[in-house]
């Protein structure tokens, strides 16, 4: 309760408060409705205008990279579920790809298709959840429930596929745990058809809504240069005009067999990030339809005797495109059963690092909008 606050909290460039300026500090988080978990943003505010943001992370740092060093590679797959739990199939796939690459394990054709189908379903699911949360952060609660309702339909599919709704643990090096259940493909196609009309409805409810437009257009602009410098990937980078999609540029699995577009934004504001994600859902539906059409018969898992050991002093590196961007797995091996070191590259880590660039100079409400369009998953950042 000092009149003149002399101490500058760590990370800030300037002091606030006191008799001279009108600025003050405000904490948002770790328990705050808009921070999507336990992110803590410390904000220097001037009235309603955000002057500087210092993000504090680590409130859900669960030392997954340390634990990985004492667990076998297969056991590690279930830990990757808990990184980006909204794209856990993709994070599973990231580790599986790294193991397959390092241990030279092959994957049957059908399994490759199953992987694509499941990953794209998950991308839609994740974006639906994002769409709902985005609308909720802007105050439209109904859209949040609509998004969740559609998401439940895909969650049901996953539950039937692998028995879990959120932490799937479905992929294995060399394939998947189980084959697709009966009548799975028609149901996916039905959801695709349904999603097409639903997305149009969403456009009417949210995308075209004047208030949403006013609140997102020209807000939270991230230029192409700044996005590159911060290492942004995924929809955030694409909204800034960076043409980088791991699925297109370094196709893993069989992504190069499918015909899809990479939506790009021009300005890098919140509205671009929004439209890029909505468009990505449409593209995912395209991929799903192609994959469901071409799905071959065969094994769902490689019948080789599993040898999931990466040779000594080798490392393997894989990148996958999760719903949030480039998720890379870097495995260093000393030849043992457990990895010597695993490093997961989390896309959101870079995005949250860039938030000061994006949101300072705008209003406090815009900070919430910017955060919503970054779609952060905090455990993914903290690992």
């Amino acid at each position: 309760m000092d009149l003149v606050q002399t101490e500058i909290p760590e990370g800030f460039t300037r002091s606030a408060g006191g008799g001279h300026t009108e600025e003050y500090y405000l904490n948002m988080g770790p328990q705050h409705p808009s921070t999507h978990g336990v992110l803590r943003l410390m904000v220097r505010l001037d009235g309603e205008t955000v002057k500087e943001i210092v993000p504090h992370i680590g409130y859900i740092h669960r030392s997954i990279e340390k634990m990985a060093e004492s667990q076998s590679l297969i056991q590690n797959i279930h830990l990757t579920d808990r990184l980006d739990y909204l794209s856990c199939h993709m994070t599973n796939l990231g580790l599986c790809l790294a193991i397959e690459q390092g241990a030279d394990v092959g994957v049957p054709e059908r399994a490759e298709y199953i992987r694509i189908i499941v990953c794209e379903l998950q991308r839609i699911q994740s974006h639906l959840l994002w769409w709902g949360c985005f609308a909720m952060d802007l105050g439209a609660l109904t859209a949040f429930l609509y998004g969740f309702d559609e998401r439940e339909k895909i969650t049901d599919l996953f539950e039937e596929l692998c028995g879990a709704r959120l932490t799937m643990n479905y992929f294995r090096p060399g394939g998947c745990v189980s084959d697709l259940p009966n009548e799975f493909i028609p149901r996916i196609l039905k959801i695709c058809e349904h999603m097409k009309t639903t997305l149009d409805e969403y456009d009417n409810l949210v995308s075209k809504n004047m208030i949403i437009r006013e609140r997102t257009q020209g807000v939270g602009i991230l230029s192409k240069e700044r996005a590159l410098s911060h290492g942004c990937t995924g929809p955030v980078a694409r909204a800034s005009g960076i043409n980088y999609d791991v699925r297109k540029d370094e196709p893993y699995g069989i992504y190069n067999r499918f015909d899809f577009d990479v939506p790009l934004g021009a300005t890098g504001d919140c509205y671009d990030r929004y439209t890029v994600r909505i468009e990505e859902m449409r593209q995912s539906i395209r991929i799903l339809e192609q994959a469901c059409k071409d799905l071959p018969d065969g094994d769902f898992r490689s019948k080789e005797k599993p040898n999931y050991k990466i040779p000594k002093d080798e490392h393997s590196f894989s990148s996958v495109e999760t719903a949030r961007g480039n998720f890379s797995t870097y495995v260093v091996s000393d030849g043992g059963k457990t990895p010597y070191r695993i490093k997961y590259r989390s896309p959101n880590f870079s995005h949250i690092g860039a938030i000061n660039d994006m949101a300072s100079g705008y209003k406090l409400a815009d900070l919430v909008t910017v955060l919503a369009t970054l779609d952060p998953v905090i455990p993914d950042i903290d690992r």
């Binding site: 667990q71 297969i74 590690n76 830990l79 028995g163 643990n169 745990v177 300005t267 300072s360």
Partner: protein
Amino acid sequence: MTTPDQHQDTPPQNRPQSRPQNMGAFTPEAQAEDTCTKPSFYAYFIKRPIVGAFSLLTGMGITLKTLCNVTSTVTQEYPENRDTLTMPPAFRGQVIMPHDEEGEHKCTACTLCEKACPNGTISVLPMKNIANKKVLGKYIYRFDQCTLCSLCVEACPFDAIRMGNDFEHATVDKDSLVMVLNEKEGRL
């Protein structure tokens, strides 16, 4: 203390504060008017309110449609629908050890599941039975620690354990979550 953004090539102050007219390839064309640049009187007082009001009314139409359409309600009333609620066969609710009619199970205390478990959830405690053979003495399953990854079920070569479909495990007693899965010692 110096700024983290000290070395930035573009300081945030010099950012463009408004959107350029071209909003990218995938922007819906419906009303591509720019809200940040200076609008004309017509655009501000006539066009914008009309277009805006129309967009708001469309949104209201969607919610009204949902309100009027009673069948759109998707709520499943959980405690009331307990009798009809079924989980998909693959559902992972908890690890169970099926017992046959005689109360026998298939576990041979090989500890593969114990080793497969990433969380240290399972303790397979073997014993010598009356025939002096190694059998299962006690199969401790710490449900409070289990992540239901089903690696133990995959590892089991005898199909002795599998994932159960029950999910109603909420309890006020934490200790009750540490379970002994086998009803008696291993098969002779």
